[in-house]
């Protein structure tokens, strides 16, 4: 089940209340760049999940001016999944909630190795021909440049396509 709140049309007080009215158990992914919210949901497979998902875009953020947020009820993520998010939402914070309490906050980190989530940009790469799980070494975390383990070509940030 997915609830979509058009938060920008709400009064500031109710907006605040809505964001804070936290889920009892689950994960809040905060500080997502607004444009990346849908991509994060796709990477985490939240489009097809049975968990209750709430998300918002273009919310006010003291830190970034503008942000997106996703709340997933009764769902927790391991580090591998968190790292997947980091590629599209390097600023994202994962907040684990249990019994309305914040249990932990984790920063999404760009991993050294990216496996199985990004398509190789090179159309002549073996990963685009056979059933090979893609694998890249992140050679530049700042500008996000991925070196393919197989064809040794670089997929740049602007060419990244998620599988």
């Amino acid at each position: 089940m997915i609830f979509i709140f058009i938060l920008t049309h709400m009064k500031p007080e109710s907006r605040k209340k809505l964001i804070v009215s936290a889920i009892q158990n689950g994960t809040v992914i905060d500080h997502i760049p607004s444009h990346a919210v849908i991509q994060v949901m796709r990477i985490l497979n939240l489009i097809q999940t049975d968990h209750q998902v709430l998300f918002g875009m273009n919310l006010d953020s003291k830190k970034y001016g503008n942000k997106g947020i996703i709340k997933i009820r009764d769902k927790f993520f391991d580090d591998v999944e968190i790292n997947k998010i980091a590629l599209v939402a390097p600023t994202a914070t994962l907040i684990e909630i249990r019994d309305f309490e914040v249990i932990s906050k984790k920063q999404a980190e760009i991993p050294d190795i990216v496996e199985g989530i990004v398509k190789c940009f090179n159309p002549k790469c073996i990963t685009n021909y056979e059933q090979v799980r893609t694998r890249f070494r992140v050679i530049d975390k700042q500008n996000l440049r991925l070196l393919c383990h197989y064809c040794e070509k670089i997929t740049k940030n602007e060419n990244i396509e998620f599988i």
Partner: protein
């Protein structure tokens, strides 16, 4: 290198390059011996490359081993729709070592992950061809007595030539000064130039071949392919200005040697062939010694 696959020149350090070159020097002196008796090497050529295949098969035969394989994908079960992974797993049962050439980039790395025997990459599309690179290093050392501190000119298609890219990367370990001669549209990619810079080495770019000849110890010629040019007139103009003739070699250094990965089309005039500075056919022979060294080393026989 026992049981290790040879996929990319980037997997090796300077010491490992030198060990293989030393072993190749040994095979140059003793090319015929029976150390591979009882061993089977598969040569799987998913695209034809007669020269490379014959060089590998000569290397195995001279060492007393047996060769199985195919020389064209049309002769393999690829035409029936079999995946590369399945072909490699199957052939792993029949051979102690697989030499493969494949048009898809990264295919050799993938094969090395599914094979139960070591793989030697004999070319994966425009990606890697490490045995060519090693035989070039071997040849340069053979002609100059050293790999260190040389002036080396690369001429022709520097943009798409994988051999050039691998050679530049490998030679960056040896304090080489690079002289890069190409038409404007076929200059060395900036990623490869970055590699030179990051090793604090120098490179110079030219469009005029004659200008570079007196300055270098090695001229490495490559073919310029017609299909690289949008404008056929531009190709015709460039083609002739990158043809090396005997007359152009006047005023070269005495130790100059001319290399070419072959096949040559028209970029070296045949009047150069008999000149003592022409070395490309000897270079091709060296391919056998390098491949003997690699096979023996990977099978743990040397």
């Amino acid at each position: 290198m026992k049981n290790k696959s040879l996929i990319s020149i980037n997997d090796f350090c300077k010491e490992e390059y030198l060990q293989i070159l030393d072993l190749a020097t040994y095979f140059e002196k003793n090319p015929n011996q029976k150390i591979l008796e009882g061993f089977v090497v598969a040569t799987l050529f998913f695209e034809p490359s007669t020269r490379t295949r014959l060089s590998f098969e000569s290397a195995v035969n001279r060492l007393g081993g047996r060769v199985i394989g195919f020389s064209d994908a049309a002769l393999s079960s690829t035409t029936k729709g079999e995946s590369l992974a399945d072909t490699i797993r199957t052939v792993s049962n029949y051979a102690d070592l697989i030499v493969m050439r494949h048009p898809i980039e990264g295919s050799a790395r993938w094969a090395s992950q599914v094979a139960s025997v070591p793989i030697i990459n004999a070319g994966d599309g425009s990606n890697q061809h490490p045995t060519q690179c090693l035989l070039d290093l071997f040849t340069i050392r053979q002609t100059q007595g050293t790999l260190d501190n040389l002036d080396i000119a690369f001429v022709g298609d520097l943009k798409y030539g994988r051999t050039i890219h691998s050679n530049v990367i490998a030679l960056s370990h040896f304090n080489t000064t690079f002289h890069l001669v190409s038409p404007e549209e076929l200059k060395l990619p900036s990623a490869v130039k970055m590699h030179i810079k990051s090793n604090n080495l120098q490179y110079f770019q030219y469009t005029d071949l004659e200008e570079v000849i007196p300055k270098v110890d090695i001229i490495y010629m490559t073919r310029i392919q017609r299909e690289r040019f949008a404008d056929p007139i531009e190709y015709e103009r460039v083609k002739n200005s990158y043809t090396l003739t005997k007359k152009m070699l006047e005023g070269s250094r005495e130790n100059l040697k001319i290399l070419h990965p072959l096949p040559r089309v028209n970029e070296i005039s045949v009047d150069v062939d008999l000149d003592p500075r022409a070395y490309y056919f000897k270079q091709a022979l060296n391919g056998v010694y390098i491949r003997q060294a690699l096979i023996a080393s990977i099978l743990g026989l040397a």
